[in-house]
Amino acid sequence: MRSIWRHRLFWPVVALLTLIAVNSIARPNFIKLRVRDGELFGAIITILRDSAPLMLVALGMTIVIATRGIDLSVGAIMAVSGAVALTIIDGSDDPGNLATVLIAVVVAILVSMVLGVWNGFLVSVLGIQPIIATLVLMLAGRGVALLITGGFITTVNSEPFSYIATGYLFVLPFAFFISVAAITVIGLVERRTALGVLTEAVGINPEASRLAGVRSRGIIWGAYIVSGTLAGLAGILYASNIRAADANAAGVFIELYAILAVVLGGTSLNGGKFSIAGTVIGVLIIQTLDSTILFLGVPSAQSPVFFAVVVVVVVVVQSPRIRNALGRMSRSRKPKAAVAAAVVEDKQKAEVGR
């Protein structure tokens, strides 16, 4: 029991379950699933579908954060990716052709990958601070996207392209499968190869890792490439959903929500230990919260405040001091260690604050 309590995903899972419970009580329709034409519908399905872009971006962000970095350019990369894809489709003779759409998607993702290579180059080769390095593209990216679309919002009418975000495969939304595929691939690559532990080593102590022969440059560079690529895919999903490339609206603030999802999932911004499962839960919390706000009819002007309150609660509950305090209340078997830990922590805080 104690091990479950102390598990680092304990609080994120509790937060998610609480949100789901609150929603289920407030609106019984929330957990209901309806089948129409062999396709599933319902609030939960919508959440899974709509969370796909944030999921992709947050997965990439998790890896970047694990290396002690941050990628602020993901929203801008989404805009570029959407602009590239729609410009290709729009310029073709047959926008509804599957081959055209495939080419457009592949080219858009390749362009995003190149942007990731650029970010990684700035950070790992030139040694520029990640926040500055990716800020460059964050600011310039939307301009590039506008340049590609000629300053307009490019719209297309293409069945195969719309399918990506709104279509169904078997009984579930296609976008959900993209999420699952990304989670699976990232999860497997990180844990079934040595990439995960080497990434953590680089994030925790870059110099020690270098002395241990770890190719830290490649690992850091790779993280930004993965982040860029996933952001490109997220841009496709966004553009597909609205059937347009809107360089000014695509992925606005998504970098901040992605960072929030990573942090809610228990990965420290200081780098090092990371949790893919935690990020997935973090994304679902954010998306469920979004849906809750919509349902509760919170005026859109006030919704950020409501959002912030919930996030503050979740983050506070996860903070080490509150955890220790709660742990002390619930466990009377070994109170000494908890007190000692809290005391030591107090001491460290006092040292810094002095």
Binding site: L198, S209, A212, V214
Partner: protein
């Protein structure tokens, strides 16, 4: 005379284990008192109990005869007990003056006065004999200076008791001298100083009294003038010192076996110039030199950690181009850094991950060592090197210094290297682990591994090395068989320029 601080029957438990078991401790005004013991003896726990970082489970703490119980380090500090911890706790991104006056910034009209602050900092620094600009960023100074600034901060208040936990572990001889001058000065002002150090020389030089702890229990309190060094070590270890194995050193000058690593004219800017090294198979080359002498630059240049600006390095007769630690590892040359915490251990990763880190990165990202094989491998090293506690999943940063060093050694030895370069592997670790590591180096060499062993302790270099290279002012000034040197002659080589004044 009444003790300034008196601890009686102090007991601190962590769960079922007593980290401190009915320990008595007294500290008199105007004395320097040392706390001695192996790791796990309870030194840190005792310090924490005095400084309010840990509550006592049993026993009593008296300050000038009055019963006190500090709820926090703040309260202890208010009562005049200042502490400088082993891990340097300074803020490198603030100026020297800001670090010294942190939390007690002098104000003028409610506003922090930078000028007053710098003047005050300069005064305190001059007191310490440290001539640095108080306005400069602390981070740009050496570790040693940062340490002295931490001490400056501790003594900038009205301090009655000063606790120094391993204050000299990153200082060179001159700086230690400076520190001791400051300690003597504070002592003459009636300050009681608790000085914890692994360096016996320093303890004997500066301390009036020693309290020895072993396994959390009180062994005894002695006057340093009445306690023989060998007796002190024996009391700390609780066993005979006989297991310090003497190695047989060959007498001739060059390495007798085939040369594995040969360096000619190796130069790394601002570090080492024109260094020639021959390292034979199964040989231990001791390197003696002061901090900043170039001993670390030499080690780093030979292992590819830093690039060389000139010179050639050959391994078994073939010239090699060492441009990264990774390349060095591929050639079987590995390096263990002098600074475990900064560039050795990956603190939050488990012992298991730390031990297998180098081997895994050598194999590459895609070829993950199978989980069962990894555990088996790490467990065998934990057993072979007696790493304690033998818990593979524990974060490596929570181990004691000696055990962290062993984890690092395991990481490198798992690569089956031909040349092992150890930069101060025994710095800041307890006597027991030190002896184990020295003996291990001997065994490795007997099994054919070539080792370069750097240490600030001359006796250790002489005992462990077959030959000794002396580094001074960025040059190797002499290489000689250990048998031809004594600690005194080595000291002369390390410390003084030649008579002809180079």
């Amino acid at each position: 005379m009444r003790p300034l601080l008196e601890l009686t029957g102090a007991t601190v438990r962590f769960g079922a284990d007593a980290a401190l078991d009915r320990v008595d401790f007294r500290l008199f005004p105007g004395e320097v008192h040392s706390l001695m013991g192996e790791n796990g003896a309870g030194k840190s726990t005792l310090i924490k109990a005095i400084t309010g970082a840990l509550p006592l489970d049993e026993g009593e703490l008296r300050l000038e005869g009055d019963h006190v119980a500090f709820a926090s380090p703040h309260e202890a500090q208010a009562a005049g007990i200042s502490t400088v911890y082993q891990e340097i706790e300074v803020l490198p991104n603030l100026s020297v003056a800001e670090n010294i006056c942190l939390g007690r910034e002098p104000r003028r009209g409610g506003v922090i006065s930078t000028r007053l602050m710098q003047a005050r900092a300069r005064e305190i620094l001059l007191d310490l004999g440290l001539d640095i600009d108080p306005a400069s960023m602390l981070g740009q100074h050496s570790v040693a200076v940062q340490q002295l600034v931490a001490i400056a901060r501790a003594i900038s208040t009205d301090v009655r008791i000063l606790v120094l936990d391993e204050p000299t572990s990153s200082l060179d001889l001159d700086e230690v001298g400076e520190l001791f001058r400051v300690i003597r000065d504070l002592k003459s002002r009636g300050v009681a100083i608790l000085f914890v150090s692994h360096f016996l020389d320093q303890v004997y030089e500066i301390c009036d009294r020693v309290t020895v702890l072993r396994d959390g229990a009180f062994v005894g309190e002695y006057l340093t003038t009445e306690l023989l060094r060998i007796d002190l070590v024996q009391k700390m270890l609780g066993r005979d010192v006989a297991d310090l194995k003497e190695r047989d050193h060959p007498d001739d000058a060059g390495p007798e076996a085939a040369v594995v690593l040969r360096a000619r004219g190796v130069t790394a800017r601002h570090g080492i110039a024109d260094a020639d090294v021959d390292l034979g198979e199964g040989e231990v080359l001791g390197v003696a030199g002061l901090l900043g002498s170039g001993r670390t630059s030499l080690a780093r240049a030979l292992t590819g950690v830093t690039r060389t600006d000139a010179g050639t390095i050959s391994v078994e007769g073939e010239d090699v181009h060492l441009d990264s630690p990774r390349r060095g590892m591929a050639l079987g040359i590995v390096y263990s850094s002098e600074d475990r915490r900064r560039d050795g251990i990956v603190a939050e990763l488990s012992v298991l991950d730390n031990i297998t880190l180098a081997l895994q990165s050598e194999r590459g990202v895609l070829r993950q060592i199978p989980a069962a094989r990894r555990r088996e491998l790490a467990a065998s090293w934990v057993e072979a090197l007696d790493i304690r506690p033998p818990d593979l999943d524990r974060p490596a940063g929570t181990l004691s210094g000696g055990n962290q060093q062993k984890v690092l050694l395991a990481r490198l030895l798992a690569l089956s290297p031909r040349v092992l370069v150890l930069d101060e592997p025994t710095r800041g670790i307890d006597v027991g682990a030190k002896v184990e590591i020295q003996n291990l180096v001997g065994e490795l060499a007997d099994n054919g591994m070539s080792v370069i062993f750097i240490s600030a302790e001359l006796e250790e270099v002489l005992r462990v090395g077959d030959r000794v290279a002396v580094v001074r002012d960025g040059r190797i000034v002499r290489t000689a068989p250990a048998g031809l040197l004594t600690a005194d002659s080595l000291l002369a080589l390390v410390a003084q320029p030649d008579e002809d004044g180079e």
